[in-house]
Symmetry: D2
Subunit: 338 residues, 4 copies
C-alpha cells in the first residue's frame, strides 16, 4: 500500500501513519522528496484497511498495490487452465460454441433446437428454465419442467447442457437433473451468497459479467467461487452498460485480452445478449473469436419468429450454420480451431 | 405500442404487422404519411411482445408506450403514500434521518452508536449484520449475533432498526429478530427471487438503486415486491456508477424529483455510500433534502477511526449532530420539518 | 511517480527503471517488500513521461502522484478567489443567479427577459447568440445581431452579460461588444486552441464541464486558460452523461464539494441543461445551493411556450421569482446570502 | 413525431396538440385507445420542435420518428460509398491499414516510420503535427515544421498522409501542405465551426467519435460536414468512455455493423487509442476487421521506447508486420482482402 501525504503534512502525521503500519504487522518505507512524503507499507496488504489510513490527518491519498484476487490470478497458474466438460475441453486451442434458445418452451422446440445445435457443429447446448425478467408480469421460465425437456432433448445428441441458476434454493435440483454447467447471470454476479454456494459444488460455472462490473470486481466475484473450492470457472463477457442507446449493450472486446492476461481461466462471449438483435450477432461473434475468446454462447431458436421471448435476438438454425463456417475460418486465422 | 415501418416497407409487410396486432387481441391504427407508415397498437400492451414485431420484415422500430409499472405508479395513488414504521411516518412532511454504523461490531459500539443517533435527533437506526463485500477475504459481518447486539442497543432508545437482507434463507431469522425495516442492497436490486420473498412479508422494504440501474428498472424491481402484496416500499438513491473516478459514485439528485413524480412511494438518499468520504456527506445530505428527499440514511460511528470497515466514510456523533441542525434549516426552507 | 514492478521482475529490470529516473533528473527510492519491489521517483514529476516507464520490461504499473494542475489548484491560493464582474462578486458569501433565455430571439424578447431577470433579483443575465446544435439544420443562433439585442436589453437594467463563444475567430467581436463573461460550452471544454485564446484576454470565463469530462480533465482545461495569464475562471457543472435515459443528464452535485476542495476558483451550476425540463429546475437549483455552489445559471424565457428552442426547459418570470425566494432561504440555511 | 397524451388528458388538450401540428404545416392522426390517446404528426418532422409539444398541458411524451441525418444516411445511397484517396479505395472490398507514429518528432524518425509502414504493406500513413493534450504543459506537437517532415518522408514511399486539424485557422496551411486526409479528433467531434469549415474543402475527412458521443450524434456531426458539400467522410471508432478503469477506453465493435447499416460511408477503427497499450492492439485490430471495419488507424513508431509521447501504445515495425499477416487471414475469412 502506498500512502501519499499532503504537501502540508507534519512529521507527527507521518509518524502516525508509520505507527499504524507497524501495528498492523507490516514494514514502512518512507520516501521524502523535495515536495512530498510518500510512505510504502510493505508486506501482506490484506492486513491493512485503506480507509483506516485515509482518515488519518495529513493523508492525501492511499493506493493499494497488490491484486486482491489470488486463486483466479494468472500468477497462480501461468499456463492457463483447460476446463473439461464431459470430455469437451474449454480454454485450450479448440473454440467451443454453445448454442440454443433463450427460453425452454416445449419438448418439441427443444428437440428441434438440439438437432440444429448439433447439426451446426456445436458441442454444447444452452437454454433457460429460470429467466431473470425486468418485469414481474413477464414469462419467468418453465422452471423444473424446463430442465426435464432440456435434458431429454440434449441427451439425444449427447450435448452437455448449460443453464442459469438464480436462486440458491434450486441448487440441489440442478444437481439432481445433472446440469453440466451452471450459469450465474449478469444480475447475480455480486449475489455473494449464491457465489459461495456454487463454490461448494463440483460443476463448471459460467460467470457472466455484471452490467457495469469492472474487470476487478468480476475477478473478485470469481474469487468468491474459487475460495469455496470450485476452480472450474468460465468468464462470460456479455456487453456492458454505457450511455449508448442505439443497441442494448456494448460488447467489451478489450476485456478478452485483458482477462486472458490477468487470469488463467477461460473467457467466452455472449454476442446475442450484447447486441440484442440477431443481425448484429455474426459481426460480434466474429470479433470475439478474432480477439481471442475461448468460446461463444449463441442464441438459436428453431423458429425465431415464434420465440416466447427476445424473438429478434435468436439466429435460425440456418444462420447459425453459416456463422459457424466463418467462425471456423477466423479461428484458423488466429491459430486455433473450431 | 408504436411500430414505425421502414421507408421501403410494402403493403404486405404493413398487413403482417396489423395481423399480429389483431391476433394479440388489440386494435391497430395505421397512419400513412408522405414518407412513413406508422402503426399504433391500442389496448393492453402487456399482451404484446415487442420483439415479435421487431423481427417482422419492413419494421424499422418498435416503441412501448405504456408504463410497465402499475402498483407503484403514482397514477395508482396520486396523493403519495406515507409508510408508518412503529408509528414514525416516512413520506410525509417530516423528514426522517436514519443514522448508525456501516457494520455492527460489538455490543458496546452499538450502545454508543444508538445513544449518538438518539441524541442527534434521529428517530431510526441503521447497521449491517450481513455485509456485501467485493472480496471474499474481507469481513462479512457478524451475522445473527449482530442482530442481537443491534436490537439490544436500539431498544434502549426505542429506535426502529433497519438492516440489510442478502440471502433469502435468512428471512425467517429477520422476522424472528423483529427487524423493523428490511434493506435490499444495490447489488441485489435485481435479485428477483429475493424481491419475490420480501413481497410476501409485512415489513417495510428499503430498495436501494442498483449501481447502474435505470429509473425504469428500479421501479420495476419495486413492482416485483408490490406484486407479491407488500406495498410498503421505500426507494433509496445511493449514487450511480459513471466514468468519474474522483469519488466512489455520483449521487443522482435528479432521481428524487423524477421518482416523486412517477411513484407515490417515499424516496430517501444515502449520502454516505454515494460519495464514500465523510467530508462529502454534509454537502450531499443537504442537497438531497433541498431536492425533496423524504429521508436520509447516514453512516455514523461512535469512533470512526476504529471502524471495522469504511472508516473514512462515517460521521462522528458530533458531526452528525451539527449536520442535523443545518438539515433542519434546509427542511424548513423547502416547507418541511426534520 | 510510483513504479510497481512485477512479481517476477529481475534486478536488471529494477536497475533499468532506476536509470531512467536518474537520466530524467529525479531521485529514486527503492522499497523491497517480501513480494514486491516498488520504486518512487521523487522530484519534478513533469519531467517524467509515465509511458516511458510502462513500456520497460518488468514494470507492472505506474502511478502519478503529483497533481498536474498548479495555477488553479487550491494549494496555490488556499483562501478561495472572488471574481469581480463589474463590481458583482462571484465566489464569496453572496450567491449569484444568472438568468435569461437559451437563445436570443428578438429585441422585444430580450427586453422582457432582462426586466424579468432584474425583477427576480438576479444581478447578471445570460443569453445565446451562437448556439451549438446537434443538427446542422437547427437554428444556429442570431449571431452578432443577437449580441446587439442582448447588450441593448441588459444595459437598461445594468446587468452584466454572459454569452457563449464557440469560434476563436469571433473573440474580437466579443471584446468589441464588451461581453462581460465569456462562456465556453460543454462541447468545447477540450477545444484547446479556444482555451488558449481566452487565456489571453482579460475577461472572466465560465468553463462548462464536458459531457463526460472527469474532474481532473476539467481542472486541466481550466489550467490551459490560466496558463495563458487569465485566472478569472468559473467552473460550471451542467450535468454529465450516464446510462440513465429518463432525463437528459445527471447533475453531479458531488462535483461541487470536490471542486471547492481542489481549486480556489468559484463553482456554479446550470440546473436547466442538466435536467432538460423546467419542472426539474427548482429541485436541482435548490440542491446545488445546498451543496455549496457559488452561483447558478438558470434559463428563463418571458414566454416559454414560444421559445425558439428548448421550450420545455425555461422557467417563466413568475417561476423564477418564486424559486429565488426558496433559494434565498436555503442560502441562509447554509450560512450564505442570495 | 408521436405525441403520447397523459391518461388524464382532456379533449381540449388533445385539440391544442392537433392545432400546433396543423399550424406547423403537418397532418395529424389521432389514435384513441381504451386508455391512451396517441397523436401522430405526419409530414416533414423538421418543421416541428419537440419541446413545443412537451410543454403543452396533458402531454406525457414526444418521440421523433424520422432520422435527422439525410446526406450521410444509407437511405440516400444504399450501395455504399468508396472514397478514393490518391487512387487508393477506402470502403470497398480492400481493407486499408493506416500506420504511423502518434507524434511527428524528427525527419529521421519520420523517414524510418514511413519505410516501416510501406514495408508492412500499408498504403497510407498517419502522424500528428498538432496534438490535443490534456495538460497545457505537455508537448503540443511540432506544428507546421512537422507537416514538412511528414510530407518529405511520405513522398519517398508515395504514401498519402493523414493528420489531425485542431484549429480552424490552420486549414489553409493544411491545404498548402497538401494533406491528403484531414482528421477531426474525438474532442472536436462537436466543434461545429470546425466541421462547417472542413465541409467546404475537397479533402476526405476522418471523423473520430467523441469520447461519449452516441451513434446518432456522430452521424449528425458528419451531416454538418456533408451539409457543407463535402461528402468524403470516414467514420473512425476509437473507443468510448465507460466506468471501466482497467483500460483507457472501451472499443465499441458493435458500432461497426450498426454504422454500416445506417450510413453509406466507410467505417474505420483506431485500436491504438482505444486500448492505450501496444499489447492490446493486435486483439482489437483483429476484432475490428472481423466485425466488418473498412480500415484501421494503427500507431507504429520506429523505436517505441523513445517515442515523445504514448511510448507504451505504439507497435514496433516488426510487430506491425506480424499483425498485418494475421489481419490478412482474417480479412480473407470474412470475404475481403487486405
Amino acid at each position: 500500500m502506498i500512502i501519499v501525504m499532503k504537501l502540508s503534512a507534519t512529521d507527527a502525521q507521518v509518524a502516525a501513519v508509520v505507527n499504524l503500519i507497524r501495528e498492523s504487522g507490516l514494514k514502512e518505507h518512507v520516501s521524502r522528496g523535495s515536495e512530498l512524503v510518500i510512505i510504502g507499507a510493505m508486506g501482506d496488504e490484506d492486513l491493512l484497511d485503506a480507509s483506516r489510513f485515509e482518515i488519518l490527518p495529513g493523508v492525501e491519498r492511499v493506493t493499494r498495490i497488490m491484486k486482491q484476487y489470488k486463486i483466479v490470478s494468472r500468477d497462480s497458474h501461468p499456463a492457463g487452465s483447460i476446463i473439461q466438460i464431459r470430455g469437451i475441453p474449454l480454454g485450450g486451442n479448440q473454440i467451443q460454441v454453445i448454442g440454443g434458445p433463450c427460453s425452454i418452451e416445449t419438448q418439441e422446440q427443444m428437440n428441434l433446437a438440439a438437432a440444429g445445435v448439433a447439426a451446426a457443429g456445436c458441442r454444447m447446448m444452452r437454454g433457460g428454465a429460470f429467466k431473470p425478467r425486468t418485469s414481474p408480469y413477464a414469462f419467468q421460465g418453465l422452471g423444473v419442467e424446463g430442465l426435464e425437456f432440456f435434458q431429454t432433448a440434449a441427451k439425444l445428441h449427447n450435448l452437455p447442457i448449460v443453464t442459469e441458476l438464480m436462486d440458491v434454493r434450486m441448487l440441489d435440483t440442478f444437481m439432481e437433473y445433472d446440469v453440466d454447467v451452471i450459469q450465474i447471470g449478469a444480475r447475480n454476479m455480486q449475489n455473494f451468497d449464491l457465489l459461495k454456494e456454487v463454490g461448494r459444488v463440483n460443476k463448471p460455472i459460467i460467470l457472466k459479467r455484471g452490467l457495469s462490473a469492472t474487470i476487478n470486481e468480476w475477478l473478485m466475484a470469481a474469487e468468491y467461487i474459487a475460495a469455496g473450492g470450485n476452480h472450474n470457472i468460465i468468464f462470460c463477457e456479455r456487453g456492458i452498460r454505457t450511455f449508448e442507446t442505439a443497441y442494448r449493450n456494448v460488447l467489451d472486446v478489450t476485456a478478452i485480452p485483458v482477462l486472458k492476461r490477468e487470469t488463467h481461466l477461460p473467457v467466452i462471449v455472449d454476442p446475442s445478449h450484447a447486441g440484442g438483435k440477431a443481425w448484429m450477432v455474426p459481426a460480434l461473434a466474429q470479433a470475439a473469436v478474432a480477439a481471442g475468446a475461448d468460446g461463444l454462447l449463441i442464441e438459436m431458436h428453431p423458429n425465431p419468429a415464434e420465440a416466447w421471448c427476445d424473438a429478434d435476438q435468436a439466429l435460425s438454425p440456418t444462420q447459425l450454420n453459416e456463422l459457424m463456417k466463418t467462425l471456423g475460418a477466423i479461428a484458423q486465422a488466429v491459430g486455433r480451431s473450431l
